[in-house]
């Protein structure tokens, strides 16, 4: 074998091995969570609030409700800001301020979630003298905005310039082009971005520790402390009771399932945008 061929096969092997490793890690994690979690899933797990520690039974309905409410409210707060910033950046490419906005979004994306949590605690929880789901949503919105901004921008950049130019050629105003051409074309992509961002914040634990605080009760009021799946997993995994540790696995399974579902829908939607481009 010539040195050139040897180098080729070694590199080929390394590339393939890395790819297999990546898949293997995901499969092992999902498989392990599935095996550990699925056997304790039952109807009570989804419909009941936790039993007192050390007693059997009970579920994580409080955390399921909490994850949905906190994530949806965070998305509702973050979507307008993220989307509009993304549109601005995409439409004013090359402008100095747009570059600043993009840089800030990237910087904010890099802020560790624990820092966002402390920020939420200091400026929301301490200020209003109460832990609350709303402060958790606001903290998560800070993580939601930059990802949404970047995704919106990237998706809008995918819109064929020919389409926009055609609209301009027909005498459309910029607002009309942005709304009727760019956004309409990229809608599925933007929604996909929103879903990806939601998947990202749904799994966050650190910001919730300082803001949502957790609750053993099923809570619908955003102004009160509330539980969420990642919080419940965190608490249960460290508890002395095997029953709760098992529930932590089940909760992890539900959370992973939820996030994979969001990611899958996102992928499904983005595929449609790519079809339009083609």
């Amino acid at each position: 074998m010539t040195p050139r061929k040897l180098k080729n096969s070694v590199m080929g092997f390394l590339v393939a091995a890395s790819a297999v490793l990546l898949i293997a890690v995901l499969v092992v994690i999902v498989w392990h969570i599935f095996i550990s979690g699925v056997k304790y899933l039952n109807w009570n797990f989804f419909t009941k609030a936790p039993a007192p520690m050390g007693e059997s039974g009970g579920g994580v309905f409080n955390a399921i409700v909490g994850t949905f409410l906190i994530t949806l409210v965070a998305a509702a707060i973050g979507t307008p800001f993220g989307m509009f910033a993304g549109i601005y950046v995409a439409e004013h490419r090359g402008r100095r301020f747009a570059d600043v906005v993009r840089l800030c979004a990237d910087a904010l994306q890099g802020v560790p979630s624990i820092v966002i949590g402390i920020f939420g605690y200091t400026f929301l929880v301490v200020r209003f003298r109460s832990y609350s789901a709303l402060s958790a949503s606001i903290a998560l919105a800070f993580m939601f905005v930059p990802t949404t901004t970047r995704v919106t921008e990237e998706v809008l950049n995918l819109v064929p310039s020919g389409l926009k130019e055609a609209a301009y050629a027909l005498g459309a105003r910029q607002s009309s082009v942005v709304w009727n051409v760019s956004i309409k074309t990229a809608a599925a992509g933007i929604t996909s971005g929103l879903l990806t961002s939601m998947a990202r914040i749904a799994g966050e634990t650190a910001p919730l520790l300082f803001t949502a605080f957790g609750s053993r009760y099923v809570e619908w009021n955003m102004l009160r402390p509330m539980s969420a799946l990642p919080l419940q997993i965190f608490i249960y995994a460290g508890s002395p009771y095997p029953a709760l540790q098992q529930q932590a696995w089940s909760a992890a399974f539900v959370l992973v399932l939820l996030i994979l579902l969001l990611q899958y829908s996102a992928k499904h939607l983005i595929a449609r945008v790519l079809r339009v481009k083609a």
Partner: protein
């Protein structure tokens, strides 16, 4: 925007708008109404709003003034009561918190030594003082009732012309007591508190949300005033007390024990003493078959295996209890390592939380670590029998840890129970406390919140103590309960005692 995308977004928005509207419906304060109380002099039977009530002592007349037992004023008229005592324990002042509106208390202090009373800081002269008869305190009813805006009408006996009965028309003040409370802190009593609060929710309908974020976290949360109460396994340090900015009460709820757990073949029940444990954690005993361990455990064959010690890597109340025990019992430990929520360990591995320590111990053959008793029981870990200060080997249990509190307790209950002098006490035991501000009117807290908190504390000290035993926590001895109740009674709202 595509139809699918629009549908998803609009559904999300509808959900959010609905959620946003779910805000607690505050109950409107009930309209002003009155309650008629008829008291018969020298009779323990009274009528309150038409129904018969039995008093613990009959009202009587002295110098033309009708005197009423203080208990009745608290129970029927809704007053908060506390007593100021002299050094010998006798009562010198009666402090009342009279609810004169749904959000405020009128602070009234009556002195047993003078006829000058203090009403909201103003001196008022009475023509009588409170009277103590047969251990009960009696107060002049007209003065108290009038402070509450009540109309007092004495009814004379036509034959003798003396007062036969007194009719009081009392305005009813309904304070809105919240049904939600939150607390945070120690993980050690977490299983106990979740069970207690579950029972409380079931019987009283008040939800208490407690989160075990660690003793340090609980102290921080109370300092930041983000919770109704904090919880800690270690009492506040001087610095922590200073940063609280106001006096904080330490209300004990149970006695807990810390046990030494280990990983050895056959799970033998070892006997250890403070000296040996100290030497193990100082790294001077390094092997399980060391003669010092063997001397305590005749009949048990110890392996020729090196000892790995495991301690907490995070700041922990459990570490505080464990190191304070060693510091009290072993002078060498005190000088070399000291005591606190986190110390610099000479040897060993660190694990986060009780679960981290238990995990490291079970994964390393020959390891030894310390965890809370309830954790060891829940996880079915073996734990050592400890020699106490009287030389008896004691198995950690709810009874033996409860015995640790059978000592002379200070009034503020900030006391270590380690190395108790009780001959049947398990030596590594400690109170765990709830922390509350003595003055409850802070950071916009309402009178209702103060009342809710006081009721919860009193409930935890009495009815809820039966929960302790079922879960492996030592119940509070009677002396601790009565001292704790005195502390709870000393809580104020705007300077006035809080009604029960």
């Amino acid at each position: 925007m595509s139809a699918a995308g629009r549908r998803i977004l609009s559904t999300a928005l509808v959900v959010l708008v609905t959620v946003g509207l779910v805000v607690p419906g505050a109950h409107a304060a009930s309209a002003a109404s009155t309650k008629t109380i008829v008291l018969t002099i020298d009779s323990t039977v009274a009528t309150v709003a038409g129904s018969r009530v039995t008093l613990d002592a009959a009202p009587f007349i002295v110098d033309g003034r009708t005197m009423l037992p203080v208990r009745f004023i608290a129970d029927v008229m809704g007053a908060g009561v506390s007593f100021t005592t002299r050094a010998n324990g006798s009562v010198s002042q009666v402090n009342l918190g009279l609810p004169d509106s749904p959000t405020t208390l009128k602070a009234v202090t009556l002195s047993l030594e003078s006829t000058t009373a203090i009403v909201d800081g103003q001196a008022v002269t009475l023509d009588t003082t409170p009277v103590i008869r047969q251990g009960r305190t009696f107060l002049p009813i007209r003065f108290i009732a009038e402070q509450l805006g009540a109309k007092v009408t004495p009814v004379a006996d036509p034959s003798t012309g003396r007062t036969k009965s007194v009719t009081i028309v009392l305005p009813v003040v309904s304070v809105q007591v919240p049904t939600q409370m939150s607390g945070a802190g120690a993980t050690f009593p977490l299983p106990l508190y979740t069970k207690m609060f579950d029972v409380y929710n079931g019987s009283v309908g008040v939800r208490v949300n407690y989160q075990g974020i660690g003793s340090g976290g609980g102290i921080k949360a109370l300092t930041d005033k983000t919770v109704d109460f904090g919880a800690s396994d270690a009492f506040l340090t001087v610095t922590e007390t200073a940063s609280m900015g106001a006096p904080v009460l330490h209300i004990p709820t149970c006695v807990g024990a810390v046990v030494l757990t280990y990983s050895l073949d056959g799970n033998p029940t070892l006997r250890l003493d403070a000296r040996t444990v100290s030497d193990i954690f100082l790294g001077t005993i390094t092997r399980w078959n060391d003669s010092r361990i063997a001397a305590l455990n005749p009949g048990i064959t110890l392996p020729d295996l090196s000892i790995t010690t495991v301690h907490r890597s995070d700041g922990s109340g459990t570490t505080s209890i464990f190191t304070n025990y060693l510091a009290v019992a072993v002078p060498e430990w005190k000088s070399k390592v000291g005591a606190g929520k986190s110390v610099s360990w000479p040897v060993g591995l660190g694990g986060k939380g009780n679960d981290g320590v238990a995990g490291l111990v079970s994964q390393n053959k020959g390891a030894i670590g310390y965890v809370e008793l309830v954790y060891a029981i829940g996880s079915k870990l073996p734990y050592a029998t400890m020699r106490n200060s009287s030389g008896n080997f004691i198995v950690a249990s709810l009874a033996s840890s409860g015995r640790a509190a059978q000592i002379q307790l200070p009034d503020d209950l900030k006391v270590f129970l380690m190395n108790s002098s009780d001959p049947q006490a398990y030596p590594i035991a400690a109170f765990t406390w709830l922390l509350v501000y003595r003055e409850q009117k802070y950071a916009g807290r309402t009178l209702g919140q103060a009342i809710a908190l006081k009721r919860l504390l009193n409930w935890m000290l009495t009815t809820a103590q039966s929960v302790n035993e079922g879960l492996g926590y030592g119940t509070l001895p009677g002396a601790a309960v009565s001292k704790a109740q005195t502390l709870v009674r000393s809580m104020t709202y705007g300077g006035a005692p809080i009604p029960d």
